[in-house]
Amino acid sequence: MKLTRRNFIVDLLKGSSFIALATSFPTMAFAKWNEKAFKAKQLKQALESKYGKQQIVDSGDILLKAPTIAENGAVVPIRVSTNIANTNNISLFVKDNPTPLIASLNFGETSIPEIQIRIRMAKTSEVIAIVEADGKLYQTKQLVKVTIGGCGG
């Protein structure tokens, strides 16, 4: 891959703005940050805090793209997308992280259920993506190896 100054400048100047302003949050359109689920130390607790006892079924309609071997557990790129109709939430869990719930992503009516995110992994673990659609829960899993590096390239 070639990163040229030219295509970079175009991105930098046209594609983005960099105005950071102090702001207030007058309306919280979505649910409150789920403290109990995010602070849960076991996957089971995290799942229960987020979904109650609701059943989660395995699904082949969720695409979870994660590296087989993570270059560095500090930054693991993940992609999730699904074609399950009426998806309103995709959540990511790392089973063996100190706190397994990583992120919960809510989709409005006009948004597309596909995301990319960079996560942290403390060690080799299953990464689980759970899709919520029409009140039902679907999941898919992938093992991501996190190794102890030597020199670090």
């Binding site: 030219r6 930054v75 790129p77 670090g152």
Partner: protein, 302 residues
Amino acid sequence: MRSKAKALTISLAIISSISLQSVLANETWKKQNSHSRVAKTDNLNYSQIVNEDVTRFQNFFVKKFPNVEFEEFNNGVYAIDSESREQWIEMEDFPPYELAVDEGKILFEQKFDNGKSYADCFPDFKKGVRQNYPRFDQKTNQVVTLELAINQCREANNTAPLAYESEEITSISGYLAFLSRGNKFNLQVNSINAYNAYLAGKRFYYSKRGQLNFACSDCHIKITGTKLRADTVSPGLGHPTGMPVYRSKWGELGSIGRRYQECNKNVRAVPFDLQSEVYRNLEYFQTIMSNGLEVNGPSSRK
């Protein structure tokens, strides 16, 4: 005196015409040193020796990795490791160093108390200056890295220098590198003093040190491409081109000096100070070995 020098110039010109590289070096030199006869003879000898080193060094990697295009070597380990490369491409999609580049632009444009700014020290910054560093400064007889030049600029404008590896200095150097993307390194050694600095860097590169008894070259030449525990060892060609680098391990931009310190510690050798003469000479040597590659800093690495 004059005819002797002329004869010398002619004979050296013949030698230099053997390789295109040294002819180019000679041209560069003519522009720079038309007033200095001593430097003149030095230039031809040393630039030729050095350029032969460059050719041997680069040929080793080109032969070692026949499927890698020469231009690709500035991508470090990602030029040779496809699994890592995929994750890196994900990172480069919106690399974390972009925030630092933006910050660097803001810092670069700030004025010093005397009304001047960095642009007065780096008049060609828009065209890109990264490829000119590190350069050998004849006046002070030392290698000047981009980071050192940034601090020299501050001091020339009565402003306190920045701490090396501070967010400010790495952001500014990251911004300058970014503006230089696509420019090729083509550093030439033009004097005996510059050659000595180059040689000191070269000696360091090939000297075993630390409890593990490893030289830079042991990892990055001898066993490059193999796995060292879980990591593929990157090729020694192209290390400086992507500097400064955002390492995921650091979570921020850092210079090649910070990386040198890490490497030294990895082999259990006491590291040198940031911007110490030893590291500046090493950076000089390594950058010269990367002549012909494009600047692609700042970069992201694991």
